[in-house]
């Protein structure tokens, strides 16, 4: 929300700084007095949680890189050395591994929140697209990070995922093979591959951090959306970000940390796969190869499609389609809460994603394959057919006149 700056430098140093590098003014205007809709619920705290998790991942990651050795001979052992010999190494490594899962958990909640409340609709299209870009970068980063352990799952995940590019051979003969060998730096996944994965895994989080800054910038132009989807109309519709949302976000981060802590301290390997504690063996593929849980829905889509090239297109399309949501949704209003028909399709879509996640962990045979295909079709139909069509034919419920009105109505009901 564009607004007049209320910052008044009070000391000489602040005045000096204000005419040179006005960081105090920026912090004041964007994070202290920034007018924020007063009716944000706890689903809106996941932005702060994600920022926190990005910080956790970067800090633990830098520290782990001080001990990790990106060689095919030494990688697995160096990870175990971190776990055994490095001071607090077990804590740092498990925090990083479980942290990746927690990061994705929060990112998915954040994405579904945006989807439910129509936070991608004008004027927040670029905000949304930057978010999808961050998700895409997160997927790439997590994939590369998982490979660094150089266990059986790491190795075969790299082999399988990089081989996706070989599907381009059916477009231009030889193109895919050439590309895959370029990615590998050899004729199979090996030491050059591991080294570049490590280099890029170290780089990408900082790229993510950069895009996050753009994401927040794009957020602060129109300001936050809110559960009603009704625009802010008067100052009484808003509260200053600090202390109201700093404290609310802070509370949410602490609660999130409790969940994080339970996994980290009592079940650090629960979300992982036992096969990744077997050192990589290029001569033997594990009987069931599955990615980490956060990739399972995408993996299910890949396997649901019987053609190699189209499977890859489906996999990429599942993310790329998200970029176009702002224009695929034809609804006049934002929040699904006020959309009686679309609401059902939305919740079915949530179930669809969960089901795809489950199916991605199972062998692609029989009923699993059948339902994998059903839900894959629904996944794309949701965006490409349901969103545009339902938006046109649906008659939304009456929206509250303003944010304040909706808040008072709610409190009236409760009192």
């Amino acid at each position: 929300m564009a607004h007049e700056s209320t910052y008044k430098p009070s000391t000489g140093i602040e005045r000096w700084l204000d005419s040179r590098l006005p960081i105090p003014r920026l912090m004041n205007d964007q994070f202290m007095v920034f007018p924020t809709p007063r009716n944000l619920n706890y689903w809106w705290t996941f932005g702060a949680i994600l920022t926190f998790m990005l910080g956790v991942q970067i800090v633990t990651g830098i520290v782990l890189a001080m001990h990790y050795q990106p060689t095919t001979e030494g990688a697995f052992e160096s990870v175990e050395r971190i776990m055994r010999d490095v001071n607090w190494g077990w804590l740092l490594r498990y925090a990083h591994a479980v942290g990746a899962s927690m990061f994705f958990l929060a990112a998915f909640v954040h994405t579904f929140r945006g989807l439910y409340y129509g936070s991608y609709k004008a004027p927040r299209e670029i905000l949304w697209m930057l978010g999808v870009l961050i998700l895409f970068l997160m997927i790439a980063t997590a994939f590369m990070g998982y490979s660094l352990v150089w266990g059986q799952m790491s190795f075969w995940a790299v082999t399988v995922i990089t081989n996706l590019f070989s599907s381009l051979d059916s477009v231009v003969p030889g193109l895919g093979t050439t590309l895959v060998q370029w990615i590998w730096g050899g004729f199979s996944v090996g030491e050059p591959t591991l080294n570049r994965l490590f280099a890029l895994h170290y780089l990408f989080p900082f790229v993510i951090a950069g895009v996050v800054i753009l994401h927040i910038w794009a957020l602060h132009i129109p300001g936050s959306n809110n559960p009603t989807g009704v625009d802010v109309k008067t100052p009484s519709d808003t509260l200053p970000f600090h202390p109201y949302y700093t404290i609310k976000d802070g509370f949410a981060v602490v609660v999130f940390c409790i969940v994080f802590g339970v996994l980290l301290f009592y079940a650090p390997n629960w979300l992982g796969h036992t096969d990744n504690y077997i050192p990589a063996n290029p001569l033997q593929t594990p009987p069931h190869i599955v990615p980490e849980w956060y990739f399972l829905p995408f993996y299910a889509i890949l396997r649901a499609i019987p053609d190699k090239l189209f499977g890859v297109i489906g996999l990429m399309g599942a993310i790329i389609v998200l970029f176009f949501i702002p224009w695929l949704d034809t609804s006049r209003i934002r929040s699904v809460s006020y959309r009686p028909i679309f609401k059902w399709f939305f919740w079915l879509f949530v179930i669809c994603c969960l089901a795809l996640g489950y199916l991605g962990s199972q062998a692609p045979e029989g009923w699993y394959l059948f339902f994998g295909r059903v839900f894959t079709i629904y996944y794309f139909a949701f965006f490409l057919i349901i969103m545009p069509v339902v938006g046109l034919i649906e008659r939304p419920k009456r929206l509250p006149g303003s944010i304040t009105e909706s808040v008072l109505a709610k409190h009236g009901g409760a009192a």
Partner: protein
């Protein structure tokens, strides 16, 4: 505290008390600060030597092949260890030095108390005075002094000479001239037989 107005949520009533509110906010800030500070420690401590480094092996060295007047250098914990089989003349020279002439009056011998004086007896191997075993690192800025090889310049005192900044050590490895502040250190070691030592 109790609010008789039924339209007010009673659980919010105490929050009208500003002092209580401030106490809670200060408490929240304190917890955040403690949490952050505690989380910092593992990030710092991880850079300290790890458990495998701390347990690093001791080494055995056979002294039999080292003739009088010769010296060898072996590696222990990544550091060079100078082992010198001193001639009788070198031992005499080292013994004749008066403690008052020394820059550093302490023996710097890990096998003796910290305050042992830097006599040659306290520097050389116990009961085997021709043998001098020490960490061959100049105490100035960590270079490795010359003097191990036969043809090396050994400095004015016939011991070792550091090429970096000109520190000069005598035949007992004691600093005599130049910027180094301390005698070269004696590592923990012991004779396991007449001609074998175990360092570390």
């Amino acid at each position: 505290m109790a609010n008789s107005d039924s339209s007010t949520n009673p659980s919010l009533a105490y929050d009208d008390d500003p002092s209580r509110r401030d106490v809670i906010l200060i408490g929240a800030g304190a917890f955040a600060a403690i949490g952050g500070a505690v989380a910092l420690w593992p990030l710092i401590d991880q850079m300290n030597p790890d458990a495998s480094t701390l347990s690093l092996a001791s080494i055995d060295v056979d002294l039999a092949p080292i003739d009088e007047g010769q010296a060898i250098t072996v590696m222990w914990r990544g550091k060079p260890i100078f082992i010198r089989h001193r001639t009788a003349k070198e031992v005499e020279e080292a013994k004749d030095v008066k403690l008052d002439d020394l820059v550093d009056p302490l023996a710097r011998n890990a096998n003796l108390p910290d305050d042992a004086p830097a006599t040659d007896a306290n520097r050389a191997a116990a009961d085997k005075e021709p043998w001098l075993v020490m960490i061959g690192i100049c105490t100035h800025l960590g270079c490795i002094p010359k003097g191990q090889a036969i043809g090396d310049y050994k400095g004015e005192y016939g011991g070792w000479f550091c090429p970096c900044h000109g520190s000069q050590y005598d035949t007992s490895g004691r600093i005599r001239k130049g910027p180094a502040p301390e005698n070269m250190y004696i590592p923990p070691y012991a004779f396991t037989s007449d001609t074998k030592i175990k360092i570390g």
